[in-house]
Amino acid sequence: MIVAEPKPLDAIRQMIAPYSKVLIVGCGTCVTVCGAGGEREVSFLHDKLRLAQAKNPDSIHNYFEYTVKRQCDPEFIDLLDAKTEGVDAIISLACGIGVQAIAEHFPDIPVLPGVNTTFNGMASEYGVWDERCATCGDCCLDETGGICPITRCTKGILNGPCAGPKNGKCEVSKDMDCAWMLIYQRLERLGQMDKMRRYYPARNYQAVPRPRRIVVKSNVAAGEENA
């Protein structure tokens, strides 16, 4: 799941400075789950902005809020049509995808990001989110015992560990597990130590041709469109 965190209030206030009628749009999927951009946070941001305005009446804005199910599907964004009349700017509390999807839908309205999209991760316990996947497009988790060295090793090396780990912790921070120590222990447990001994050639670090696109329509129309 995509994990994001709220932008500092100052940054948001600077972004909206030129606009008077501002719509805050939440997203009911990933950012709701990670607590950065669901309806609760939309309303909290709304409250903060109003309070800031009350204490500093120099700039006057009108705020509105609305949360859609998912900002990365245009069908849901249609629902905003009725809400955007006279709106000068939209703050989206979704990930960068949502921000862009809304921008694409409303070519004449500036769309501003209210959160920083941070990583792809999981909840390890209530309120704690950990990065797990770098979306590199070249998954090697079968070789590394289900632990991703690209994301979880600070250096992202493929033939770890480096000479740094101490007591299983990374040399960069003693609060962080060394990913390669974890991989080692896991492979040992699985009886796959041979994978540890193998040498992995350097990955292709040439820039990935972006943007990437995947077309999957096989479940809709047989084969031929699946190009």
């Binding site: 500092p8 209030l9 100052d10 009911g28 999927t29 709701t32 789950v33 607590g35 669901g38 309806e39 609760r40 946070e41 309303s43 909290f44 409250d47 903060k48 109003r50 309070l51 800031a52 009350a54 204490k55 500093n56 949360t67 199910k69 245009p74 069908e75 849901f76 249609d78 629902l79 009725a82 909840a123 316990e125 209530y126 309120g127």
Partner: protein
Amino acid sequence: MHTTRIETKHYPKESKLTDHSLMPPCQAACPLHMDIREYVDLVAQGKIMEALQVIRSTNPFPSICAYVCTHACEDACRRCQVDSAVSIKAIKRFALEFGGDRMIQAEAKTTHAEKVAIVGSGPAGLACAYYLRNMGYEVTVFEAHSEIGGMLRVGIPQYRLPREVLDIEEQRLIQMGVEIRTNTRVVSLDLLFEMGYKAVFITIGAHQSLRMGIEGEESAGVIDGATFLREVNLGLKPSLGNKVAVVGGGNVAIDAARTALRLGSSDVTILYRRTRTEMPAAETEISQALEEDIRIEFLSAPVKVQRESNQLKVTCIKMELGESDEKGRRRPVPIEGSEYYATFDSVITAIGQTPQNAAEFGVRTGRGSTIQVDPQTLITNKVGVFAGGDAVTGPATVVEALAAGKRAAKRIDDYAQHRYPLDKDGVAAMDGELSSHTVEKIRKIERLEPPVTSSKKRAKDFKPVEQVYNWQSATNEARRCLRCGMGAEILFQDKCASCLTCLRVCPYDVPYVDESGTIHIPSEQCQACGICIAECPAKAIVMRKPSSYLHINDELEHAIRSFSKSEFKPSIIGFCCQYGLFGTGTLANLWRGAKAGIWIVPVLCVAKIEPGHILRAFELGAEGVFIAGCGEQCARENTNMWIGQRSAKVRKALDEIGLEQERLTIFNTGEQNGELTNKLDEFTETISRLFLASVLMQEVKR
């Protein structure tokens, strides 16, 4: 370009929040279906007058129930699973006494031409009279005795129900315009119809004592319990002698024994043929009798009475418990050869009663001479003749009689207005037990019994035994209520992202997720703490009873309106837990009069305060905000931790906005009184200083 369009027409996103609360077990168990949860909650909040209103809305004579009700509600209370039931009856008594029930005036107007006659002035008859009169009928109550009240007057002893309570209710009925004819035994129903009554309600009770059917029962010195109590209650003083035996194990037996004691018999023994577990009398009655040194001989029954030289020689036989009867009570079986005898000055028999001469009215009677009625219409086999109370059920309880009278009033109204009698569908009842792991997590708080007069003192007279709670005990006891059936509900399943937050934050492990990923909050487990509601990132959860949550905004607006009119600056808003606020002296410590600039927003537990509420207080002009929760005295778990976290979030926001973090603070109302006062003074000083500084800054800017 996509072509699919989402229908917006039927999307109920802004649907109004309505009361989805379920009927709690206490209310379901009460024959009158009193809104117990509501009035207990109001007492916990110190809103005694409102509690009284709720009580009076479903019970015509709550003052009577407050003394003698058998409280089926307490038996059904699910707090029993945690520690012991909430002391509902005593809380009701407190609300009545402190809410000024005796001052309440009643009035009614005649709007119907039809007149109704009620035969018998017990609770069933009086309740029926009360409701019919309220509906606008002219009502006459006929009572054979010189005073009204039925068993309330001639059965239940005064030390359990002071007679002034009855007198006040009688006065109110007269005020409403109910005609009361005492010393008037009705012998013919035809005569009543001739007198122009459209309908008759027979509530003659069950006053005929059952006979033991043993040799010597007629002997002088043997008296039946109902007659004995009636004589005492009507002012006679039967002489019993010193040594008295009472036969039976019900409330009448206990009442007779305790009355005999109060009349001066110092040696009173109850003979009961089963054991204490089977005894139908109320547990508190039994223990109070034992405290008064009344002896109970279990597994013993008289078989013969002989009068010998001014005394009664009673032959008894020992019993043992055999198989269970159809009601599940084990049958007593005599042990052969175990006869023994004892001598007494008097014997009082109290083994049950049946209605007296019901057949005289020409109505069909059934088992135990009880009157038979149609269960839906409450009508007898005679046109226009209805019946209810003990006369129909056999000896039962006051509250059942009241409920019967209330229902009969509706049915008689239907009959008079030619309507088909229908009971309106009530609220859905909540059922199910608390799961053991939820029980474990609920904070244990021992039940507080109301004070009673010491057994030495009380055994000498007929003054009330049970006393009323003081304010603090009542609110504390009321706070033990688990508020069954009004907890959290996922109202907007479509908004729910299955984020699992509610599962992770619930202090009672209530929500669960099924295989499909749908979250459920089982209504019978939820403790209505409200934590998940404030934490839900999708705002998908609401309280089944939204008023307990939404009112924070109303109260806040109210406080703001008051302070915007006030000259005094700076203004401080205090979100204070309303539970115990008024009773426990907390308010006195927080309230400094209108001039102090402190405005209280009462909340139903600080766990329900959201960061947005606090920001809003600042936005609307508060210079400082404090939250006063009950700390360790909170009836719920973890409240402090949550309010601490939310405050931290707000402080960060204040900082971002350029407001000092000290403007928000948390107090604990459970703290020593002086300490709380000091802390509040310190806080007020801080806010005054910050306020002054900000005013100066503005001047400088100008």
